[in-house]
Symmetry: C3
Subunit: 109 residues, 3 copies
């Protein structure tokens, strides 16, 4: 059993979940926030047998696409003596960041 | 140290948390949503020494019971040429889905 | 690749995130609730290469400090025959509870 933790762009999460369900997978959806942009995104937790992993990764890759965006990051907490020159920066958002963990024990009650 | 991730029905989570606390365990509660029914449920994260695992699983089993429910799943995103014939289906909900992960390092500051 | 799951006091989380970002780390922030005090706190998920782990733990330790607080815990669900004598108790809150998990596979799409 593997536990897949995927952080995806909220715009992509509905399509992703529907496709995962149609492929017969199970998933739990958690609202989250990006540390850098401070924008809402979605963390999806999927427990699956090892033989389903490739299909799940395929569905994630298919449903989540990366795109460029200009943003103004939060002004950081300045240490004494630090200077802050704010300017918009281009970051790559969307896409998916996926962690696969090994499950030692799985129970359903 | 183990990290237990349990997805439970929100109706059961209050009783479950109270029992876990009374047994001296620690837990963090995260609101979540089921991928299939799109209904709110609860994800509980419990870090515990290995010798506490059986008691935690016992408390989860005791507090979360499975029951049947009729639902209309979300109409899926249709691929070209696909037909959709909606009809209510009976699913089994409640209960608990539990993943036990191995913790490589634990720190408290 | 490691997955760091840190539960921290919400008052500390903003400073913590800013410092993590300034150090070039990535993080996802999830609102959560303590099982015992039932107060809001913050769960932070950080995926990082092994050589960044010490710096991340240093930033967490530096940003999250422990303090004492008097509270009235929730009246528990009483089993038949149990007596409840409520009195405020002093607990230690704040600080950080940190779990480091091993990531079997990491993907970015
Ligand atoms: N310290 C930093 N300095 C400069 N640029 C930074 C940065 N941290 C993030 N970025 C950039 O900003 C984008 C949004 O990051 P955010 O933290 O809001 O939102 C992130 C975060 O919620 C999550 N994420 C990505 N990598 C993660 C990791 N290693 N651990 C935990 N969450 C991660 O996925 C979302 C999208 O990440 P993605 O990599 O596609 O896109 C990131 C990345 O291109
Ligand atoms: N392997 C896993 N990984 C991550 N999270 C998991 C999981 N297995 C269960 N969960 C979580 O637990 C909730 C209850 O699952 P349960 O299996 O009892 O009850 C499920 C199951 O009987 C059924 N179901 C779930 N996915 C299905 C699918 N793709 N096709 C048909 N039925 C599905 O619908 C009920 C409600 O599912 P829902 O997704 O709303 O809510 C799920 C989901 O949030
Ligand atoms: N092993 C673990 N697994 C998962 N999450 C964990 C954890 N250890 C700590 N946490 C999370 O960190 C928060 C702060 O825990 P801390 O141990 O500093 O401070 C705790 C602790 O001093 C005390 N406490 C927790 N559970 C207790 C229990 N069953 N009996 C007596 N005191 C308890 O109350 C404070 C607040 O606890 P609360 O549950 O509201 O909030 C907890 C919980 O959300």
């Amino acid at each position: 059993m593997k536990l897949i933790v995927a952080v995806v762009n909220s715009d992509d999460s509905r399509t992703l979940i529907e496709r995962l369900m149609r492929h017969g997978h199970s998933a739990t959806v958690i609202g989250s926030t990006g540390g850098f942009l401070r924008e809402g995104n979605t963390t999806i937790v999927i427990g699956a047998q090892e033989d389903k992993l490739e299909d799940i990764l395929f569905v994630i890759r298919q449903s989540c696409h990366t795109r460029k965006q200009f943003i103004n990051p939060l002004p950081p907490v300045l240490e004494p003596g630090e200077l802050q020159i704010p300017s918009p920066i281009e970051v790559q958002v969307g896409g998916a960041t996926v962690f696969v963990l090994s499950v030692e024990r799985f129970e359903k009650y």
